[in-house]
Amino acid sequence: MTMKFFGFVAVVVVGILLLAATGDFPEWGDPHSPASEGQVSSFYIERTVNETKVPNMVTAVLADFRGYDTMFETVVIFIAGIGIIAVLRNFGDGAAHVPDPPEPDEGSDLIVRSTCRLVVPLIQLFALYVVAHGHHSPGGGFQGGVMLGASYILLALACGLPAAKRRMGERKAITLAASGIIIYAGWGVACMFCGGNFLDYASLDPLLPGDKAMARSHSMLVVEIGVAFTVTAIMFAIYSNLSTRGRLEKGL
C-alpha cells in the first residue's frame, strides 16, 4: 500500500513537471517550430533527393544520414535475440542437436493449415517487395523483415513449430541474424577501404553503377537487406523461444 502511495506521489510530481514543460512548447503542428524550421530538418527535406536520389526521406535519413544509428539498432535486435536464447534457452542434454521427430504436433486443423500454406508465400512475397521498395514507398528493412519473420511465426502457429523449424532452424536463424549485421557493417567497412569514412557510401561510386548519389541509393538497398536478414531471423527466434519456454519442442 505504501508502495502504491509513494508511486502515486512520484507519478504526480513527474506529471506536473512534464505538464509545466508543455507550456512553452511550440504549438502542435506549428510549421515554424525550431524543430521544423531547423537547418537539419530542412536539409533533409530539400537536399535528400539530390544527395541520394531517394524520394522517401525517412529511408534516406534512416539508412544513410543516420546509418550509424541504424546499424546499432540492428545490433539491438540481434542482442535481444541472442540474449533471449542465452537467458531462456534450455538445452535439455543436447536435445537441441538431435533432429526433431517427424510430426510431434500437427498444429491446428486442416482448414487453417491449408489456408496458411496459401497465405504464407504471399506474405513473404509482399515482405520482399516492402524491403525492396522502401526507397519509394513506406517500408524498408525493418518492416519487411518483421513481416518475413511473422510469416514464419504464422507457419509455426498453424502447422506447429517443427514445421517452421524445418525451414528456419535455430542454428540457421543465428547464422542469418549475424550475417545480416555482417552485411551492414561490412558494407560500411568496404567504404573505408574505398577511402571514405565508415558508411560513406559515396566512396563506393567506382564499384557501383551511376553517380555518387546512385551509389548511396544502391548501398541503402544493401544495408536494408542486411537489416531484413537480422530482423527476420531474430523475430522468429524470439517467438520460438518464448512460445516454448526455450525448449523449442511443442509450440502453442
Binding site: T22, I45, V49
Partner: protein, 147 residues
Amino acid sequence: MEFLAAGFIEDHIVPKFNYWIYVILMMIGLYAMITKNNLIKKLIGMAVFQTAIILFYVSIGVKEESGIPILSHGQHHAIVDEGRPSEEVITKEKFANPLPHVLMLTAIVVGVSTLGLALAITQRIYISFNTLEEDEILDQLRRGGHD
C-alpha cells in the same frame, strides 16, 4: 454553438492536446511500472510508457497542411531526371519533418527488443518460482533464507 465549441477546441485544446495526452499516457505507464504487482502488467505499463514518448516525438514532427515525408513521383522525376533544382520543386512546409520518424523507428525497435528480453526473463522467473506475482516471489525468497 458547436462552431463556438469547435473554435474553442481548435484554439485552446488542440495546440497542446498531444502533449497533454503523452504526459497522461506516460504517467499511466510509470504508475503501472512502479506499483503493479504482476510482472506482465509491469511490462504492459513499460510498453505504454515507451509509446507515450514516441507519441511525443512524432508530435514534434507534425506540420499543419503537410503531407508524408515522401516525394511524389512527379517531384522525384522532376528533380532526378529533369535535373531541376530541388528548392523550386520542394516547399518544405509541405513535408512533415522526417527526423523524428527515423528516431522513433529506432525507439520502437528498441522497445520491442526490451519487451522480448523482459518476457524471456519473466518466463525464467516463472519457471523457478512458479508465479508472476512479485510479493509471492519475495515471500518464497524470504522463506528460502537468501539475504
